[in-house]
Symmetry: C2
Amino acid sequence: MDIEARAHSEHPEALRLWLRMLTCSQLVEKQVRTQLRERFDTTLPRFDLMAQLERAPDGLKMNELSRRMMVTGGNVTGITDQLVAEGLVERIDVEGDRRAYRVRLTPKGRKLFNEMARQHEDWIVDAFSGLNEKEIGTLYKLLGKVKDHATQPRQETAP
Amino acid sequence: MDIEARAHSEHPEALRLWLRMLTCSQLVEKQVRTQLRERFDTTLPRFDLMAQLERAPDGLKMNELSRRMMVTGGNVTGITDQLVAEGLVERIDVEGDRRAYRVRLTPKGRKLFNEMARQHEDWIVDAFSGLNEKEIGTLYKLLGKVKDHATQPRQETAP
DNA sequence: TATTGTTATACTCTATAACTATA
DNA sequence: TATAGTTATAGAGTATAACAATA
């Protein structure tokens, strides 16, 4: 097969799929951003950071937050500073490594996050209410394959 | 049923699905943005605008571009200005309405876009290469239902 | 009056790179 | 030297609102 024609136009389905996925994500994301701003005067990255912490009762180190949020460290510092100033999260010293912190929710932060999360879930359930349970499961499973493939360390050439 | 408990925690699958979809989109989008910057010194909104025009040989009016790109008009003006300055798109007067333009690709813009689109397709095919054809089709169909539901005019109350 | 498009502005989010302190 | 985190900076991306021209 002509090497130049390798993948071109053989898989237009993948392209159409991507454009549709992007549209769906943007639709839902816009809705969530707007609601977070209007109802809680906050932003998606701030909500995301608190959501990460909600699942980690002992808190997370900055580099772990950075990895999970898929943004570089400087940004996490900025968002954390805001949330600390509002008393929603706190920095805890790590024993045995005076360079590192763990960031965790304060009781106030946890309470606020729970309120936000409850409404957030409603918005999301509404956004996906065009699907039945089985379809949601199928979508979840297929996206899992996409994620796994994209997350796996690249190994383009033969072993 | 208790109204407060209406949707809460009854559909955690929708929430998990959304978080996974967001992750997938961000993974692919980050990859695309990086490649567009490194290889073509351009950005995703610029690419998106050109992609919209590529499908409209006669060009699109600003408000139509704004709607399709899901951003407000001022931003479209800014991106269009950049692309006009580089000779990639042009503004054409609309007969019968001296307020409006149509924006369309120049031959130079079309040529460049075709090059970008070919590589873009490779990146996308690679991103979804963890799925087989049937799975891509299923995913496409399910996301179509999500999109249709989110796009339909809201009608929360009874008719 | 309503619509098309532009201008001006402000803010969030982001990556990069230089930096400090500690390991 | 390497790592954890911060600071400083610049640019992308966005929404909002006021504005001009035309319908």
